[in-house]
Subunit: 325 residues, 2 copies
């Protein structure tokens, strides 16, 4: 049911993503700045085998490429040894990715620039290869296999060092040439804190794990993690409560804007900060609901796939690449 | 290339919308609160004949329905007299519309509630019938036939008494169950003017034609139209300039949020206020560009189809309804 262009673009469609059976087993990689998560994924989206390796970004982009190519080769050998015929390879990574062309435009974390990654992998493996943006791949996985299974319009919102967004609209990942979903840079305060993007008052400067830790340190002089701030909120510490409230309010401002424009049924919060669970989600639901009038009020839930979302998303992209147009 | 669901939903897809030839001639209506614009539309999206009638909303919802049904019957007769075989009927209207079911949930302007409009028209005409939301239909028409012909990701932004938005994302109209695109209710001032929606600081309270007229009247005591305010801006009147600047800045704040999330290539400004042309668009472009850092900066242009956008969009929906799944 995907249009040829969707397939050409390496985009899976959640409407049929879960039922694809034409590809049996795929090899998937989620290449992060520090570690590569890799796996052999079965037809029921089950992880038959997984491996984690250091990315080696400090040793330069060619070393990262070599590790990715070698890891794929190793996994193909392991699959063969296990009697699995691999149908395709999928890779998720951070940065600007031209999914249709299989090309990495720029990945600052990995040192890659203008890399024909899909072509390199296809040459090595003789298999169909799909590449995709890690957060969008994770959002696809949550929408097909995780917390968003029942929804067509949703936002996957990983909150960690930064804040990203993957938009699933009408059942499809929406990329806008790689520019979509920059929720972390919605301006939540007209003249707020300066942001690394060059703007001011960006959400990321209030509600990311790093911003929460920094705001708490500014206030108390104590350098503790966002997780520790959360623990202190639970214990009723007034400084932690004030920092937390500011982070929650900023998230609600940003989600109110998102709800007004995109009207999702569901917001799936992921990343490290999702670990604080209802301590974050319950006041966020209340603050968002208070800001909306006639708009559709989205449910807000925690992600289900944890740090496997990118890997499972890469597998979905691999699977989609084997579909005939 | 549309998926069956898109067809079932009566949604056209701009990727093939312009090239559809299976339906030759269609009858289209754009039902507004005051007037119904209707026409016989040919295979090249040419208006073969058009008619305008009063909506008759003051006489109650049944009268509006009767006028719509009779107008369609009249046009079918005129088409037959002219030797045109009509393949389908399309109707665009304001309100909450379930396009897939062909049902009007609520149209405050027309007095309709829970009306199976498509079924009523199909019964009368024995033809495929599509219904759609007027602004989204207009956005579809601008994207297929008007200013957005070359773009896949765009926002159609009619600015009149209110401010609406029709989103075309990845070449498809995005509806989110009818809730999408409420740009007029993005909050552009944290504690701004109260809005009829129950919120505060909504864009519509700063940048709609009615808000511009009201702000000018508040400032000067002179009740003049937004068009007159624009004329005074062009003449350098300082009160008019101040009011205009506030309206432009509020639009830029809202479009910056939209660009951060949806990253359109193009914003098409329509509605009455588009009549002021570059007086509006030039400072809007400058203010938006100053607010964006890494985001994709959309082009901002004036709509091309004027008050025929809804009618031509209804014709596109009609045409889509004749496509086999």
């Amino acid at each position: 049911m995907n249009s040829p262009r969707d397939i050409a673009a390496g985009q899976a469609d959640k409407r049929d993503g879960a039922s694809r059976g034409s590809a049996g087993v795929v090899v998937a990689l989620d290449v992060g700045g520090t570690r590569i998560k890799a796996g052999i994924i079965g037809p029921a989206h089950d992880v038959l085998l997984d491996r984690t390796r250091d990315t080696g970004a400090a040793e330069g982009p060619d070393e990262v490429t070599a590790r990715v190519l070698n890891l794929v080769t190793d996994l193909l050998a392991e699959a063969e040894a296990g009697g699995h015929a691999v149908d395709a390879v999928g890779v998720a990574l951070p940065g600007i990715v031209e999914e249709a062309a299989g090309r990495v435009v720029l990945s600052a974390n990995l040192g890659w620039r203008d890399l024909d990654l899909a072509a390199r992998l296809a040459e090595r493996t003789d298999l169909p290869v799909a590449i995709g943006h890690d957060v969008r791949a994770g959002g696809l996985a949550e929408s097909v296999l995780g917390a968003g299974r029942q929804c067509r319009d949703l936002l996957f919102l990983p909150i960690g060092t930064g804040i990203a967004g993957a938009m699933i609209l009408d059942g499809r990942p929406y990329a806008a040439g790689g520019y979509a979903g920059e929720i972390g840079h919605l301006r939540v305060h007209p003249d707020g804190r300066p942001c690394g993007c060059g703007g001011r008052g960006c959400l990321e400067r209030y509600s990311s794990a790093s911003a929460i830790a920094a705001a708490h340190a500014d206030r108390t002089g104590e350098p503790v993690s966002a997780a520790e701030v959360a623990a202190r909120v639970a214990a009723g510490d007034p400084d932690a409560v004030a920092v937390w409230r500011e982070a929650v309010e900023a998230l609600a401002v940003a989600l109110a804007a998102y709800a007004t424009v995109c009207a999702p049924e569901l917001v799936i919060v992921g990343g490290g900060l999702a670990g604080s669970g209802e301590l974050l989600l319950e006041p966020l639901r209340a603050s968002l609901a208070a800001r909306l009038t006639f708009q559709r009020v989205p449910r807000i839930v925690r992600a289900e796939l944890g740090d496997r979302a990118g890997l499972l998303g890469a597998a979905l992209l691999a699977r989609a690449s084997t579909e005939s147009p």
